[in-house]
């Protein structure tokens, strides 16, 4: 039945899709006009948008907070790199193996956490604990250069996921983002996604209606860990340097979660909008403050942002943007007219 609500919604979605398509076209031709530095900023925007989106699947949709997602990207990066070092396996294949490892680790963490009914803070602690264990173990592995970190000598070719120009990374990054958009949109529209949202809103109510809470939380953490670790291959082959102290630190986990929180948790566009807003600021302020001798000031600002957003805009930027596209949903009163 076509109620005014569904018509409004359809109209809004149509407008949104048109807008997204135009945005995508612009992004496709943009590199032609960008300097190398600006290209780098865009690559970081895509990178963090993708990571935020992967984290969003778990925390945004099921409401289970993870502060240990740096573990999964670390596993992805190190597994891919190890497979290159030991067997000469192309990162394009290795990343899926790394992803499987991360998904398995995610399942272990999920099993420990969800089976024993850990909620809220307890689960947060569990994820941090596992990330820290992973960081400490990798920090002591001689294969990966222990405390010095691992330098990767680039050998440019498509097979090796290593490219001379930033253009290739730009398009791969964009591909990552589109891939994550499609995955999250599919999840959101599927039954699984509906169940996840249901258990996020009220776990007991969902369970009493027959939703297998444990199962859907496990699915969410599995997909989330898998996708996060795919970015590890990108990280390793874009920066050519791996160190557990930066890649697997809690600070990196916070970098991951900041953008979706600011953009809007549990929405498809939130992480992407958040990344477009925050990453350029972060990149600029990082270099600016470092030059001025205030290294770390951008992290202070992150901290304040995190506090301010949760206190004053808990729904994120997306809720304001939604009003532009779907006035009916934002103002239900208009429907009656």
């Amino acid at each position: 039945m076509e109620t005014p609500g569904t018509i409004w919604r359809k109209e809004g979605m149509k407008r949104l899709y048109t807008f997204l398509l135009i945005g995508l076209l612009i992004l496709l031709v943009l590199p032609k006009f960008l300097s190398s530095y600006a290209l780098g900023v865009f690559i970081m925007i895509f990178f963090y948008a993708y990571l935020g989106q992967s984290w969003n699947i778990l925390t945004g949709y099921t409401g289970v907070i993870s502060l240990g997602h740096s573990l999964y990207i670390g596993v992805g990066a190190y597994a891919t790199t190890y497979l290159v070092m030991a067997f000469g396996l192309s990162p394009w294949i290795g990343m899926w193996i790394g992803g499987t490892c991360a998904a398995l680790i995610g399942l272990v963490i999920g099993y420990l956490g969800f089976r024993f009914g850990m909620k809220g803070v307890y689960f947060v602690l569990l994820t941090i604990a596992f990330a820290e264990i992973g960081r400490l173990i990798l920090l002591h592995l001689k294969v990966f250069g222990s405390f010095q970190g691992l330098f990767i000598t680039p050998n440019f070719s498509y097979r090796n996921f290593q490219f001379k120009s930033n253009h290739a990374y730009y398009y791969i990054g964009l591909g990552y983002v589109i891939f994550s958009l499609i995955v999250v949109r599919l999840i959101e529209r599927s039954k699984i996604g509906r169940y996840m949202v249901a258990l996020r809103e009220d776990e007991d109510a969902a369970e009493s209606l027959g939703v297998n809470v444990f199962k859907y939380k496990m699915i969410a953490i599995c997909i989330s860990a898998f996708m996060t670790s795919l970015a590890g291959a990108f990280y390793a082959n874009y920066l050519y340097y791996l160190h557990p102290g930066t890649l697997m630190s809690m600070a990196f986990s916070i970098e991951i979660i900041l953008r979706p929180i600011i953009g809007g948790l549990g929405t498809v566009l939130g992480p992407i909008i958040g990344s477009f807003l925050i990453t350029p600021l972060a990149e600029l302020s990082r270099s600016y403050f470092a030059k001025a001798g205030y290294e770390g000031l951008h992290l202070v600002i992150y901290g304040f942002l995190l506090v301010a957003v949760v206190l004053f805009f808990p729904k994120g930027v997306v809720s304001y943007i939604k009003k532009l596209f779907m006035p009916a949903i934002a103002h239900p009163k208009k429907l009656r007219a």
Binding site: G63, I65, L67, L112, F116, G117, M118, K119, G120, V121, Y122, V124, L125, L126, I128, A129, F130, E132, I133, L136, I137, L139, H140, M250, A251, I254, I257, I261, Y294, E295, G296, L297, L299, V300, Y302, G303, F304, L305, L306, V307, V310, L311, P314
Partner: protein, 303 residues
């Protein structure tokens, strides 16, 4: 395995455990009353360390006295933090309480880095490096002093909670918030004082740690984790649990690496378990306790 070494490590871990207890006491107090996990706990301890260090640098007052200034400073900081931020998130879902406090932790950590620089500092106070031989054992004097002072402070805090009017109000608010409101207690003030006392504990502990370990802005997060582990081990909100848990974790961290290395060698594995991985021992304790007894050793049924 060297038994004497193991015993030596156990004693040193036990002494450290006293300070851990004090840190965890603060966290447990805050959780017990406000039902909020202070994710910035370790970072606040670092601020306590830097305050004591700065006082030592400027006036030469030994950290074993100036920890009082750290405690007072952190009390004010905690009081203000509760009034401005924590009070607003008390009724939010648990998940949303985590993020602002993580944000505050970042602010503390990195502002310390901007103010005092990123390098490790180990100030040489009067007592550092001196040690006391007892039989086969060598006991670190700064550790022993820190231990004794930490225990004294712990008992003062417990006395404050049990005997004074303010302490009784805090316990009343922890038991029954509505009840405390009904009998005319200013609950916000109680909460702020309680948060302040909790952070003062960790500030004092920070001051006591200055002669024992080098300071750096980034050592806070591990301490936040350790104090969580202790509090979960002892039972959320249980003050006795926090104290006992502190000693258990202190000893386990100290002898764990040596024991595990011995175990690896014993079963024929050529692996070492370096001391830098001692945190893994406490994380392992955390995972075991979460699965085996999530309400903690001294926790009630509800955890």
């Amino acid at each position: 395995m060297n038994l004497n070494l193991l015993f030596q490590l156990a004693v040193s871990g036990f002494l450290m455990g006293g300070v851990y207890s004090l840190i965890a006491l603060g966290l447990s107090l805050i959780f017990g009353v406000l039902r909020v996990i202070n994710f910035a706990h370790g970072e606040m301890m670092v601020w306590g360390m830097y305050i004591a260090y700065t006082v030592f640098l400027r006036t030469g007052i030994d950290p074993f006295f100036s920890f009082l200034i750290s405690a007072a400073g952190l009390f004010v900081l905690g009081y203000l933090l509760q009034r401005t931020v924590v009070n607003r998130i008390l009724d939010s879902p648990e998940a949303m309480q985590v993020l602002p406090l993580v944000g505050i932790a970042m602010v503390f950590e990195n502002s310390a880095r901007i103010i005092w620089g990123p390098d490790y500092i180990s100030p040489q106070s009067r007592f550092s490096l001196s040690s006391l031989p007892i039989g086969n054992l060598m006991i670190d004097v700064p550790r022993l002093l820190a231990f004794c002072l930490a225990i004294i402070i712990t008992f003062i805090v417990l006395f404050f909670l049990k005997k004074t009017d303010a302490g009784k109000s805090i316990r009343a608010a922890a038991d029954n918030r509505t009840g405390a409101l009904l009998v005319g207690k200013d609950i916000n003030r109680i909460y702020a004082v309680c948060f302040g006392v909790g952070t003062a504990c960790v500030g004092a502990a920070g001051g006591l740690l200055v002669p024992i370990m080098p300071l750096s802005p980034h050592i806070g997060a591990p301490f936040t984790m350790i104090s969580f582990i202790i509090v979960i081990l002892g039972g959320m909100g249980s003050l006795t649990g926090a104290m006992v848990g502190g000693f258990i974790v202190g000893i386990a961290e100290s002898i764990g690496p040596e024991l595990i290395t011995g175990l690896f060698h014993g079963i024929g594995l050529g692996l070492d378990f370096p001391n830098t991985m001692k945190q893994v021992v406490s994380f392992f304790i955390l995972i075991v306790i979460m699965i085996w007894r999530p309400q903690g050793l001294f926790g009630g049924k509800k955890g």
